[in-house]
Symmetry: D2
Subunit: 81 residues, 4 copies
């Protein structure tokens, strides 16, 4: 699901519409805020593009990114059908 | 699912946790704002209590409430398992 | 601002409209999730009613509630005009 | 505030932190959903980058984009200090 390249974890997800995409973003936002580790992400309509890396460590992939990615994947059973 | 009593549609939903409950609320909020018809609702942790009635019509159940209820039910395939 | 009665902190806030009320709720939701201490709250259109108490301590007001109340008050400069 | 270039309206906004940035995004999301006209946007921590254009018209700036930009500006008194 996640592609590791250029020192970051990448994933693009398509939803049914904007409302579903933004609800997903809200859930990710909660997780990120709780972990105090935030994604770089973009959205247009039903598409969400995620890029995870650790800025404080010089923009490389760390354990924090893998944990955030795993937590996002756990949302999957609810959101990614 | 919805109970009609005392001139309102009532429904209580339990989620896994607060984060899932609030993501559901965000989706309902979008629908409500788009319809310009808003619920009376309460939340504590994983529980959301909804009450739908039309204030401008003297707090009775109208077609607007039934449409909002139906739209919330359509979220069901994603959220209510 | 907060009234302490019946073993809980109470506050009612009126916003301009639903959209502003729900944006406020989103911010409170983030704080609550981060603190792992969640409010009992209700909303209808532009009104948000908050009730804070600590369930695990037998529904009394504890330091957790005072911290959550203070964090909500800090949002005030942005939201409560 | 908005810069028009390459057939789109652009604006970058810095907030205090992620929580404030995402609350702003939530408000924009409501407006967008109500207008049925959605932004292309990106976020990392406290930064939100907006790009508005009309896809159905061949990715040019239309009246829809100007209306969305104006509605976002109206949030300004609350969010942009």
């Amino acid at each position: 699901m996640w592609e590791e390249k250029e020192n970051a974890l990448h994933r693009t997800i398509l939803f049914k519409d904007f409302s579903e995409a933004f609800a997903f973003m809200t859930r990710v936002a909660f997780i990120a805020e709780k972990m105090d580790h935030h994604p770089e992400w973009a959205n247009v309509y039903n598409k969400v593009v995620l890029k995870l890396s650790t800025h404080s460590m010089g923009d490389i992939v760390t354990e924090k990114d893998r944990k955030l990615a795993a937590a996002i994947d756990k949302l999957g059973s609810v959101f990614f059908n």
